[in-house]
Symmetry: C2
Subunit: 264 residues, 2 copies
């Protein structure tokens, strides 16, 4: 597999999709609802996904595509090359803020993350990595993450996991947020993963994410020494929803061991 060519192709495709997305703000955004009011989808989401799929299918016909909007393939195994795509990660931000959303793409071969991309479209900030070749923020190589104790950590976590919920013991989460230095919530898993990889957050966690939310970010995170797993400490399930945590080494172990008590 010529990964250098695929890397340059993917970067170019993402930049073109970002440009289309920015241009789309000149038109009216048509909003319809998927399963709930919390799960907003726009026409632009769908158009951008279809743009990616038509190009990838034409130029890499034997690759499979797993996309949030469902226009890709029915992917039941991670055999071969699989592109895992979220054309607009942070749809609610996209609609309400016209910023703070990202294109997220991970390219996996036989289940191993080879290339990862997170593009903050409105800031024009590009996080990217190739397996064993390091991670970059735009043209700048990202350094290996150092250890930070929980007391000095800023954690990305949504307030909904601090309230009683079906996934995790919230009393332990309350203890976690009282012990750490502070919490943030940006509403885009991909951007929060990018923030951990670039040292702007020390950890990020969610009790329910899909493969396309994290596939690109995991490749980037691993290149800087961040640990990305589900809440059981295993590699995240990439064929369905799973819990998720990414953190600096040491901090990851501390949080999973001492502050996560799964209900299922």
């Amino acid at each position: 597999m010529k990964w250098g060519i695929i890397d340059r192709y993917a970067k170019s495709l993402i930049k073109e999709a970002g440009h289309k997305t920015r241009v789309s703000f000149f038109n009216q955004i048509d909003i319809d609802t998927k399963s709930s009011a919390n799960d907003l989808v726009t026409n632009i989401d769908k158009e951008i996904e279809q743009f990616f799929i038509s190009r990838i299918k034409r130029d890499f016909p034997d690759h499979k595509i797993l996309g949030e909007e469902g226009f890709g393939d029915v992917v039941q195994t991670l055999d071969g090359v699989v592109w895992m795509l979220d054309p607009i990660d942070g749809t609610m931000n996209f609609i309400h803020q016209k910023r703070n959303f990202a294109i997220s793409l991970g390219i996996y071969a036989e289940g191993v993350g080879m290339l990862g991309y997170i593009y903050d479209v409105m800031r024009d900030d590009f996080y990217h990595a190739a397996k064993d070749e390091g991670a970059y923020f735009n043209d700048e190589r990202l350094p290996q993450l150092e250890i930070t104790p929980l007391e000095e950590a800023v954690i990305g976590i949504n307030a909904s996991w601090v309230a009683p919920n079906h996934f995790v013991d919230n009393e332990k989460i309350i203890e976690l947020i009282r012990t750490c230095r502070g919490t943030r919530s940006y509403g885009s898993a991909a951007l929060e993963l990018a923030y951990v990889s670039s040292g702007r957050l020390d950890a990020y966690m969610s009790m329910r994410l899909s493969p396309w939310d994290v596939a690109g970010g995991i490749v980037i995170a691993q290149e800087v020494g961040a640990v990305a797993t589900n809440m059981k400490g295993d590699f995240p399930h990439l064929l369905g929803q799973d819990t998720f945590i990414v953190a600096r080494p040491g901090l990851h172990q501390d949080i999973v061991t001492n502050y996560i008590d799964l209900k299922q």
Copy 2:
């Protein structure tokens, strides 16, 4: 009072301070701690405040200055003209992220907000307003805010208020975050106020803020029809700490009436 001249002066001063702040990243940031590890202060914070004070004292010697770092005046009344300044709002973001912080300035005459400024230094985004003359995002006039029901609202609230705390009944806050569309937390009161004024958030609240955190943002918020009060519904106390909420009209009343149960 020549408010037009003061307005142009303040804008120029803020831009110059922003430039100094960006340049400061080329040097090492020396961090020391104020009252706790959660209350970080940098040398740059202090230098920027002293820069503002020396200029204002020279050019407007009869004005008073209330600044976060304490180099300003001892302000015990809101008589005369008072500049309320936070040279770096979001200090933790400043240190950990080198972004997502703001210069916040409000200029009040006899307790009335005349001029308000929030400058997102790293994005180079400037939110500004003059009383009765409208609010602006860079050169673009911000429209009046329309009514949004709670079910469609995205609220800026830190996870710490969802956990049991000394200020407010957190059971009601849990109900609030379950009813709204989503929550965010950016770690800068000034930026979250700017986000409400520009329609990117529908409400923002905190149980403990200081005058310099909100003084500039209140002037901007009022110009677009947002309602900014403490949690009792009164104008925030500008000589000490207070609770704070800013929200679209209607939504403000709904939250304060139905979801806030103060403990003191």
